[in-house]
Amino acid sequence: MADQPLLRLTNISRHYGAIQALKNATFEIGRGEVMGLVGENGAGKSTMVKIIGGFDTGYSGEYFYDGEIRRFGGPTAAEHAGIAIAQQELSLIPTMSVAENIFLAGDGVPRIASKGHLARKAGPFLDEVGLGHINPLRTTNRLSVGEQHLVEVARLIAHNPQVLILDEPTAALGETDSIRILEMVKRLKERGKSVIYVSHRMDEIFKICDRITVLRDGESQSPRAAADMDVNSLVELMLGFELGDMYPRRTPIARAEPVLKVRDLWPDGILEPVSFDLYPGEILGLAGQLGSGTSEILGAMAGATKSRGGKLHYRGEEFLPTRPKDAIRRGIAYCSEDRKRDGLFLGRPIMENMSAPALETISRNGILNGARERASTAKNAVKFTIDPKRLPQEAGVLSGGNQQKVALGKWLSISPGVILVNEPTRGVDVGARAEIYQILRGLADQGEAIVVASTDIQEITNLPDRIISFYRGVQIGELHLADMTSASILEQITDPFHEAGIAVSEKAL
């Protein structure tokens, strides 16, 4: 199949002003092949995807599709030719039914069609993406985010594309929905479709891709068979140097006196009150899928989410924060899962972001002390490996990984005793991810107590010292370092009551 690739781009270059996003990059995919496209943030993946899908027409280079030179004028032209993109952002109309969304473009259906007719036609496409159990007449916004992503893919499949591009399809999904996506990719491949799979998640890449194309700083490496590579060699290709161990080494911790005691905390969205202790120097992991309640627990501890009751015992005080300010004042820092929503001031300089939680420490009588602000933010920036020279730049110009470092790093300004982090590395490239793990471990070693909630099974297995698992708003169990394997965690967070009857070993594959 590699002799006559279905799609082949050669010598692709693309400039955005002074920035060269792609330098003579090459990309190809054969029929019935799953090609992984990987690279750090800013390596040019999105640009490549946009060019393939016809969104970006300002490139130079050759674009061969089905043996002919093509140059699509826009995404619609590419779609008619059989190239479809599932974007990271959903483009469904939330108030319309699933079936209506699938046939939104109106191709292949009569001009006037009853809802039942649409629903019958939508059935096979829903089966295709593993949503056969869903009623096509349901309103789209009543589905989970993961299911909505699958509906989006079903809509693309309805156009019978030859090449399907999935841009980080699982970034916002929990484990079950991710598995559905992967299974769907396998089915498409069996039917002879080509899939370009863009992802940060190494495990997925190796599970489903035939070959992998690595982009680094806008240059492409020639595609390699996935079977000939392992995670380490792939990461090395992406970074251009050896990373070593991504996750810092863990050593058993002496747990004497808890620094923070959570008692009967009952956030909205949780079925019963939770209680646990947090010890200095440890990273506690809250494991659970999307909707398991881990985000709500962290939010409630920080005063960002409403809770029905409960108390935190911390530094001799007993309280329940009702707004973030209450927690911040006592030295509890909270970094939510969505940095763009409430973690960063994108339009403001990085320096202002870094000092935002602790304005009183850099001011006297309400007057800001510029020198003190520069000194303290530079110090914290260095700890989070952010170049202090970039402090005056807007936070919005940073890459995802650096943005996450700013969103986390700003909390050093309040000298926190407890740091709560939800999804510490969502949408973050491998290099920055390893850095964030090192920094979190470093903070724990200095005696801070850290709570991490994550739906990334690799991360939750390898980063924390101890895990409390949650399933649909219920606290399931606690795992200590010795028992923390992906399989044992997966069992607790996906099917603790053995309702589905799937062997864990199957899921962990």
Partner: protein
């Protein structure tokens, strides 16, 4: 690490920076505007005289002070107070009523009043007006801070304040006798021939800019405006912010009302609806200035310095058109065009700066 490489190593000069950061369209539009302005300045008689420059700034002063106050609301992400002119109307009625009240007369009506009596009268009326304006601002701010839509809240408040002012004054002109303390603020001048109101405008502009740049309050205004959710997450709630900013805007409106009343020794609820600026409507003029200054409607970006320059800019164009004999309709049109123009340029500029990903 890949994005550090994107920053070019040698510092580009000004022209390169402009060409890199702004799209050609923006550069063309801004140059066109500057050219028109320069041409107008050269070809309009009596435009470049000291007297005319003073006139321009004095005309900019009253609307400018109000716009500076409103800028705080806009920067903090709370949109606009659509009740600016009604706050001013209530304030001017309050002020004039107190100035003319019987208990507040300065003694025998035939004799000349003592300076101390003038000052005392003025201060009492001034302070009470400010307190009432602050309450008006705080109420609106609290409602907005609790989650009320700024447009709905301030439109409702506008009706309320106008109604109170109109009822209180029986919809009549409230006048008081000269000489009185407010003259000094309205028409006096203590630095050469520069009107005091111009001095007040410049001082307020400087103080506002310093507050925004160098105080924690100013920083909070920007942070909450840039991202309200992130502001809350870092301990800066919009509730207090909205109240403070609305009080600032209302106090500025009341100050303008007092100064204007001092010029005409009277008050009427319609003064700010019919007799003001080129477009007649004070609220629209003030919002126009904030917009033309290039402040982000969404908040978090801009400054009171921009607002002050916006006020002077609009006043300049207006002045030029008056000197060239345009009627008020044409001048309203010009203000409208400037708003649209500034919004477009602003949107393009922001998009340009975001492209440095």
């Amino acid at each position: 690490m890949s994005d550090t490489a994107a920053v070019s190593p040698s510092a580009p000069n000004l022209i390169q920076r402009i060409r890199r950061d702004y799209s050609p369209l923006v550069i063309v539009m801004v140059s066109l505007f500057l050219t028109v302005l320069l041409a107008g300045a050269v070809f309009t008689d009596d435009f470049l005289t000291w007297f005319n420059v003073k006139t321009i700034i004095r005309d900019a002063a009253l609307v400018g002070i109000m716009a500076i106050g409103l800028t705080f609301v806009t920067l903090s992400g709370n949109f606009f107070l659509l009740s600016m002119k009604e706050i001013a109307a209530l304030s001017i009625i309050c002020f004039a009523t107190l100035m003319g009240a019987e208990w507040n007369q300065w003694g025998p009506a035939d004799g000349d009043p003592a300076t101390s009596a003038l000052v005392a009268t003025f201060l009492i009326a001034f302070l009470v007006t400010m307190v009432i304006a602050s309450i008006a601002g705080a109420v609106q701010g609290a409602l907005i801070g609790l989650g009320g839509n700024p447009i709905v809240v301030t439109l409702g408040a506008a009706g309320l304040f106008f109604g109170i002012g109109s009822w209180w004054s029986d919809n009549l002109v409230v006048s008081y006798r000269r000489p009185h303390g407010a003259e000094w603020l309205g028409t006096g001048s203590f630095i050469g021939d520069i009107p005091n109101i111009t001095v007040a405008f410049i001082l307020i502009a400087i103080v506002a800019e310093l507050v925004l740049r160098y105080t924690t309050f100013g920083r909070q205004v920007y942070l909450v405006g840039a991202n309200r959710a992130a502001g809350r997450a870092t301990g800066h709630e919009n509730f207090g912010m909205a109240i403070k900013c609305c009080i600032i805007a209302s106090v500025c409106a009341a100050f303008v009302a007092v100064a204007f009343s001092g010029q005409v020794s009277s008050a009427h609820v319609n003064y700010f609806s019919s007799e003001f600026g080129s477009s007649g409507d004070m609220t629209i003029m003030v919002i126009a200035i904030v917009m033309v200054g290039g402040n982000s409607i969404m908040g978090g970006y801009g400054s009171t310095l921009r607002t002050s320059l916006g006020a002077i800019f609009i006043s300049t164009v207006d002045n030029m058109m008056v000197l060239n004999g345009f009627n008020s309709g044409a001048r309203v049109l010009a203000v409208g065009l400037m708003i649209v123009f500034s919004i477009i340029v602003f949107a393009l500029v922001r998009r340009g700066s975001r492209a440095v990903e």
